[in-house]
């Protein structure tokens, strides 16, 4: 992390992590409320796909959060 990052900037970065998590949550809600991902039908494949796709971006958020603490 940049040692010159101010408290304000850290708050901005934390809010950015929150934003990405909210986007993921919003689309999981759409997924749950509507049709599952068409390509994978209605089975558990949709859930597996979601987990696989979310893992890298959640790892990015986790790493960023760790550096900000």
């Amino acid at each position: 992390m940049d040692p010159e990052l101010t408290t304000e900037q850290k708050n901005g970065a934390k809010a950015s992590i929150l934003v990405i998590v909210l986007v993921l949550v919003l689309f999981v809600m759409v997924l749950v409320a509507g049709h599952p991902i068409m390509y994978f039908g209605t089975g558990p494949a949709s859930v597996v796909y979601t987990i696989v796709i979310y893992t890298p971006v959640l790892a990015l958020c986790a790493l960023a959060y760790r550096r900000l603490r």
């Binding site: 940049d2 901005g12 934003v19 990405i20 809600m29 068409m38 390509y39 971006v57």
Partner: protein, 235 residues
């Protein structure tokens, strides 16, 4: 017909998240630079998205008539594109920009930073787009090589949009640096306004140039994939 709360939730939810990302941008970069990012990215994505609609690649009128014959499907529009689509793009672009430039890869090569942001944007869109298409939030029309029900050029588009906008904002607003290749052309077009402090004029000029470059690039990629789909029978 899918439940009404899917388009309403997607639109209002994205607008709410956009308010949070605006807060993040202001905290990370101050009001002025955050305003540049927001205004520039809404303008940038509005033009590219509207070109996509005019080109009949996709449509956003899938929920038209939901609350009456005059209801176009969403509350706020910029041309033929709902505002929440532009804001969704801003949300992904700005949050990734802050995290990659300030926390994860500070001081690294701008091209590396932009490329990583582009890859993570594609990662996020790999869920957004298939879910949105399955729920009719938008509909792809063109024949193309499809991946998970979405044309492959869409993912190339996400990478290009984030990659180029990242570089544009970084060089023009954060660093406010002249770019060797563009310097003479900028001087030619901007004339007396081309001064070291002419951030707005330079940003606007570079924005237009980058939009043209990206539009041409994406048109070529889309055309190749459409041709592949037509010859190979992939719809």
């Amino acid at each position: 017909m899918l439940p009404w709360y899917i388009p309403v939730g997607a639109e209002l939810g994205t607008i709410a998240i956009a308010i949070v990302v605006a807060y993040a941008g202001v905290k990370a970069y101050g009001k002025e630079r955050a305003a540049y990012f927001l205004a520039g990215s809404v303008l940038w994505t509005s033009i590219i998205e509207n070109l996509g609609v005019l080109d009949k690649s996709y449509t956003y009128y899938t929920y038209a008539g939901l609350f009456g014959p005059n209801y176009s499907g969403y509350l706020f529009w910029v041309g033929q594109v709902p505002l929440w689509i532009e804001l969704g793009w801003v949300v992904v672009a700005l949050s990734l920009f802050v995290l990659i430039h300030e926390v994860l890869l500070p001081g690294r090569s701008p091209f590396l930073q932009a490329a990583v942001a582009g890859l993570f944007a594609v990662n996020i869109d790999l869920l957004i787009d298939p879910v949105a298409v399955a729920n009719n939030l938008w509909q792809w029309i063109n024949p193309s090589v499809y991946v998970l029900g979405v044309p492959a050029y869409n993912f190339a588009g996400w990478f290009c949009l984030i990659f180029f906008y990242d570089l544009l904002f970084n060089y023009t607003i954060l660093q406010n640096k002249p770019v060797a290749v563009l310097g003479r052309i900028e001087g030619l077009f901007l004339g007396d306004r081309y001064t070291p402090d002419a951030k707005t004029a330079r940003f606007a000029f570079r924005l237009i140039v980058t939009i043209l470059v990206v539009a041409v690039l994406l048109t070529v990629i889309a055309a190749v994939l459409i041709a592949v789909a037509k010859t190979g029978g992939v719809a």
